[in-house]
Symmetry: C2
Subunit: 336 residues, 2 copies
Amino acid sequence: MLKTLAQRYFADLETQMRAVVALAPAAPEFDVLLKYPLGWVDQGGHPYDHPTGKRIRPLVLLLCCEAAGGNWRDALPAAAAVELLHNFTLLHDDIQDDSPLRHGRPTVWKIWGRANAINAGDALFTLSYCALHQLEQTTPTATVLAIWRVFNQTMLDLTRGQHLDMRFEHQPSVTVDEYISMIGGKTAALLAACAQIGALVGSDDAARSQHFADFGMNLGIAFQIHDDILGIWGDPKVTGKSAATDILAKKKSLPVLYGLERNQALNEVYRRPRFRKIDVELAITLLEESGAREYAVQLENDYYHRALQSLESAQLQGEPGHQLRSLAAWLFQRAY
Amino acid sequence: MLKTLAQRYFADLETQMRAVVALAPAAPEFDVLLKYPLGWVDQGGHPYDHPTGKRIRPLVLLLCCEAAGGNWRDALPAAAAVELLHNFTLLHDDIQDDSPLRHGRPTVWKIWGRANAINAGDALFTLSYCALHQLEQTTPTATVLAIWRVFNQTMLDLTRGQHLDMRFEHQPSVTVDEYISMIGGKTAALLAACAQIGALVGSDDAARSQHFADFGMNLGIAFQIHDDILGIWGDPKVTGKSAATDILAKKKSLPVLYGLERNQALNEVYRRPRFRKIDVELAITLLEESGAREYAVQLENDYYHRALQSLESAQLQGEPGHQLRSLAAWLFQRAY
């Protein structure tokens, strides 16, 4: 599924992104800090060419453009913009989380220091706006302004989500509702924007584009809950991570928050300063007893079906419409 | 001079900025981190109302709009945008420089930590784009897109300048030309954008707006050189700083770079690990001997006169045209 779409889009997407990054003014090593996180150069500035990440956001954007009846090539500037924006958020995230690795390589701040990494992020952020501006070459001006507004609002929601996420770390208790609101900003808002912006380029019908936005938002939340389940009950052979990573890291993911709201014994376990293997096993047992797993699976299902309902209202067109439904199903069916 | 203009513009500018910041989505304490650096609240979120800084950039923008024949109220969204952008750059600057104080108050990172400060900066940056977007209410769409392009390009130049500035700290030698290129990005690019964007709202004449941009760029460089001179030879009673601050901090400002290029003894002094009072005095003597002061004053004059020449080409209109010339003269005549 992904492969068909990747073959259709990715060469042109990569060309578009490279043309945008080439707009950055010349200064020694400046371009290296911008190209490195995109996987185009190594830290010495030599060609590397292993584009980072799955480019899932531009893919959704381009497919939604087609499914709304448009020509995906018209949406390439916006697709480049969301991928650059996503990479900018990862760059600043890695500083905020003190993460030393990303896509198996040292993070920008780890190599060049925090001050340079902040600046490289700011430059990538600006380049995402440069990319979006190029929509003027393919799209009516009024639509470009409408899309720019969506882009701004999305970025505000991302910073709100990030703010909440950092706040939750120090907050004694977090409700499930607060958590859903946080991932709505941090994870789902950008996917919602991708679907909506694709649809706006494809058909410039504001009401219809809102159905696409709802699709992206609900799918994004379902996707994050799915990840939360995998972080506890995922099969290490499938996820590629060690078992119950999120429990060991005491991550306040959805099942954990649900369990903490209902199970006193689980609260006591979580107050222990550090987790041993036996604590992890106990925590998982208590989580299962509290019904956290069923709850999370049910909630994921709910959001996924809301996403599908939004697609029904969006009047998808032709083969790309089928592909969009298949993509949603594929994203949802990743094995537990 | 400033007072007349401030009385004309500042109440409406403040209203415009507050309306934009109110677009930030609700989350506990999120708005406090955005309003604090603007001087609207204290760190507890209570009203404070001492707007930070002189708002010199929006003032130049609004006056250039009028001097180009426009109505300054039409340019208010852009004026709010450049002031928000400026404050965003200060916020990230303070993290990058480890500065504990700004406008006499603890910096955002000092109060809320680096991770939150990075995010607050990202949100302010986004809000500057939200402000700019509101130009669609006052300005023809094609002009809005032209202004958005200038804004993007300016922000790229700011990140280039910041990149060079951080790089110079570790670079064994920096030439005067490299330095001028750095301050062109870090200091002057935003002033150039203010003048150009004001002119574009005021008359939408691309060629003429370029003269305004040249005015802002040259004035910005002259302004920075002036500051560099004050940092060494400024009268503490006038500058409010202690004498020769920049020498004590071993700051590689323009006169110092000029002196280091020409005076061997000065190079030896600058290799000493720390400066005592006697080293500062010796450095100043050597700087004067090398002709660094005359050179800097001459270069400042050159850029200032280029700025005035650009104004001549810009066909200024009416009373605001006179006021813009007076403002330039006033900025230049700050006492040494």
